[in-house]
C-alpha cells in the first residue's frame, strides 16, 4: 500500500509540475498577445456588444477604464453601497454606455 501511495504521489508531483509549466507559458503568451501593438489597436468592443451582453433593456451600463493598479473599494455603509476608485498612474475614465 505504501509503495502504491509513493508511486501515486510521484505521478501527482509530475502532473503538478506540468501544469505549472503550462500556466507559466500561457501567462507569457497572453502578455505578449495583449501587448502587441496591432492587437492593442484591435482589442476593443463596440457599445452594442455591451448592450447585447444584457438582455433586459432597463439596464444602465457604466464603463470604467482605469490605469493599471487602480484600487477599487466596495464598502457597505449604513445605506446602499459605496464604490471608490483611486488611481496613482493617471486619470480614470468613467462613462455611460450609450443606448444605441
Amino acid at each position: 500500500f505504501y509503495q502504491d501511495l509513493q508511486k501515486e504521489v510521484s505521478e501527482l508531483t509530475e502532473a503538478e509540475e506540468k501544469l505549472d509549466e503550462l500556466i507559466t507559458k500561457c501567462n507569457l503568451q497572453l502578455k505578449l498577445l495583449t501587448e502587441d501593438t496591432q492587437n492593442k489597436k484591435l482589442g476593443y468592443v463596440m457599445c452594442q456588444d455591451l448592450r447585447r451582453s444584457f438582455d433586459s433593456p432597463d439596464q444602465l451600463v457604466i464603463v470604467i477604464r482605469a490605469p493599471a493598479e487602480t484600487q477599487m473599494q466596495v464598502s457597505e455603509p449604513s445605506e446602499g453601497y459605496q464604490v471608490s476608485l483611486k488611481s496613482t498612474q493617471g486619470p480614470i475614465d468613467v462613462f455611460l454606455c450609450p443606448e444605441n
Binding site: Y2, L12, T13, K25, G43, Y44, M46, Q59, V63, P91
Partner: protein
C-alpha cells in the same frame, strides 16, 4: 502506518493544488481564445468597412463595467484630476471585467460553459499552441480534469 498517513496527506494536498491549477489553466486558455477571436473579428470588420470605427463607438480593453437598474440613484463625486471617484448606489448592481463581457459575447466559443459545437471546437483548437489542444477538446464538454503529460 505513520509514513502511509503522511503520504496520504501529501497526496490529498497535491490533488487539491492540481485541481486549483487546472482551473487557472482553463481560465488562461479561455482568455487567450477570446482575445484572439475578438482581434480577428475586429480586423475582419475593419477590412470589410475599409476603415476603423469612430473612436467614440469603441471601448478599448482593459475596462470593467458596472450594470444596475435604470431606477438606481447613483451619487458620484469626482476629484478635479479624475484620479479619484466615489459612487454611492441606492440599489443593487453588478461589476464585471472585460473578459467576462467577451465570454458573454460568445468570443470563447462556449468553452466557458462546456458547450462548444464541433465547428467552434475546431476553430478554438487552431487558436492555441499544440500542447493546449487536448485541454481545449476537454473544455468543449466540461471543465479540465486531466493533465496531459505529452502534447497528445
Amino acid at each position: 502506518a505513520q509514513e502511509c498517513q503522511n503520504l496520504e496527506v501529501e497526496r490529498q494536498r497535491r490533488l487539491e493544488r492540481i485541481k486549483q491549477k487546472q482551473g487557472q489553466l482553463q481560465e488562461l486558455i479561455l482568455q487567450q481564445i477570446a482575445f484572439k477571436r475578438l482581434v480577428q473579428r475586429n480586423r475582419a470588420a475593419e477590412q470589410h468597412a475599409g476603415r476603423a470605427p469612430p473612436p467614440n463607438s469603441v471601448i478599448n480593453l482593459p475596462f470593467i463595467i458596472v450594470n444596475t437598474s435604470k431606477r438606481t440613484v447613483i451619487d458620484c463625486s469626482i476629484s478635479n484630476d479624475k484620479f479619484e471617484y466615489l459612487f454611492n448606489f441606492d440599489n443593487m448592481f453588478e461589476i464585471h471585467d472585460d473578459i467576462e463581457v467577451l465570454k458573454r459575447m460568445g468570443m470563447a466559443c462556449g468553452l466557458e460553459a462546456g458547450r462548444c459545437s464541433p465547428e467552434d471546437l475546431k476553430e478554438a483548437r487552431a487558436l492555441v499552441p499544440k500542447a493546449l489542444e487536448p485541454y481545449v477538446t476537454e473544455m468543449a464538454t466540461g471543465p479540465i480534469t486531466n493533465v496531459y503529460m505529452t502534447g497528445a
